[in-house]
Symmetry: C2
Subunit: 217 residues, 2 copies
DNA sequence: AAAGAATGCGACTAATTATTCGCGTTTGTC
DNA sequence: GACAAACGCGAATAATTAGTCGCATTCTTT
């Protein structure tokens, strides 16, 4: 076990090599699929390399052909999710800022709907996201993404209301992110109808959260 | 490592023996203190038995005199926290239900303040609570407590508005708990002033969440 | 079809860590 | 101060798992 080594080198999490032949890119897919299925089956616990290999019908050795370590597999699964947040929020900052209360509300609603879609589209990934949060090695990486997302939420708030202080914007940003995340995780574990009800709940809460600071009362 | 054994027997988590002599009850305290400090130092990662023993100035053997396994130590730390929630909510159900809008709001506020106090009083325990959430073995136990707390939040909602449907009450209960928890964890990691601001934020969100269902608009 | 590159394999290594057990030491009791 | 019970110790055990390496197989190219 060269555990300590990989910890020291601050983890290369990039794929180890690009697949050159067709069979091997199928192998990469099989590994990712297996990791996803196992993570979903086991709740929060991250699957072992052996379990992933067996589930994919491969040997451990093959797994390490394409991934430098176990963490890289989970991270690869999560990457699309992790990166779509910044994209979506950034897009909502590009539009011209609202000029009256009705438009304010509309902007909140749009951001709300866009972020909600990310959750719906990545519903099957949620166990992976939860597993990453619970994994001591991967947590810091997620935290970095979170920082970014918070900063973007804050930037959005200041886009909507340029007079908003940095400190307040960043506090509200954290809460928007965390409240949205917590509630939507609950929603995705229930049926679609309940998810939609919870979405309404979240929207009310978001509005209540930001209203005093965006003069929406 | 009799790991699988302890997993099979579905974990006896009770203290293994009561200290009979004075020195040993001090030892138990030292173990708990060490576990708390280490958990705080290491963020979410649960400390190893060896680390706990060393930090407490003891040998592993001594740790196992009083705790059947590692999990029991963390659970012992968290026990007061885990049990104070049900107590506090239950107490808020015992009072006569509100009869007008102003009293409704007052009741929300009281529950809000009481639950906030639990967080403030147990601020140092929060890393342990987070570690428990991230630990595959302890998570189920916390989930049981959570079920209980959700049921009590739901009961409180129906106490305040007896006409509220079970399903709605339980959905709102989950969200009250999760939103409160997520935001307060954020708050406790910041300074006291920010914590208070976040408390205001949470209160607004709680009110926005339940208002449509308690005729508070 | 032959060579060489890419891929696949899995026994093996080694790190980590939970838990036990038998023995020496301390404490309370008479 | 003698005896038993309680306590404390830590080397040893054993389970789990990440990651490696050299050999075997399959593919691509000519």
């Amino acid at each position: 076990m060269k555990r300590s080594l990989s910890r020291e080198t601050r983890m290369a999490l990039e794929p180890r090599k690009q697949p050159r032949q067709e069979r091997s890119s199928k192998v990469v897919d099989r590994i990712l699929d297996a990791a996803l299925i196992l993570t979903r089956e086991q709740g929060t616990k991250t699957p072992t390399t052996l379990a992933i290999a067996r589930r994919a019908g491969l040997s451990v050795g093959s797994v390490y052909q394409y991934f430098p370590n176990k963490e890289a597999i989970l991270l690869d699964l999560a990457r699309r999710w992790l990166s779509s947040f910044p994209e979506v929020i950034a897009r909502r900052i590009k539009v011209p800022p609202p000029i009256n209360r009705d438009e304010f509300r509309q902007e909140v609603r749009k951001l709300f709907i866009d972020t909600s879609r990310i959750y719906l589209e990545n519903a099957t990934l949620m166990p992976v996201i939860e597993a990453i949060s619970g994994n001591a090695d991967l947590r810091p990486i997620q935290d970095e993404y979170d920082e970014q997302i918070i900063a973007l939420y804050a930037a959005w708030l200041q886009h909507v209301n340029p007079a908003l202080e940095d400190k307040i914007a960043s506090r509200l940003g954290v809460l928007m992110m965390d409240v949205g995340h917590a509630c939507r995780l609950v929603g995705l574990k229930r049926d679609r109808k309940t998810y939609d009800l919870i979405e309404d709940d979240v929207e009310r809460m978001w509005l209540a959260l930001v209203s005093p600071y965006l003069n929406l009362d």
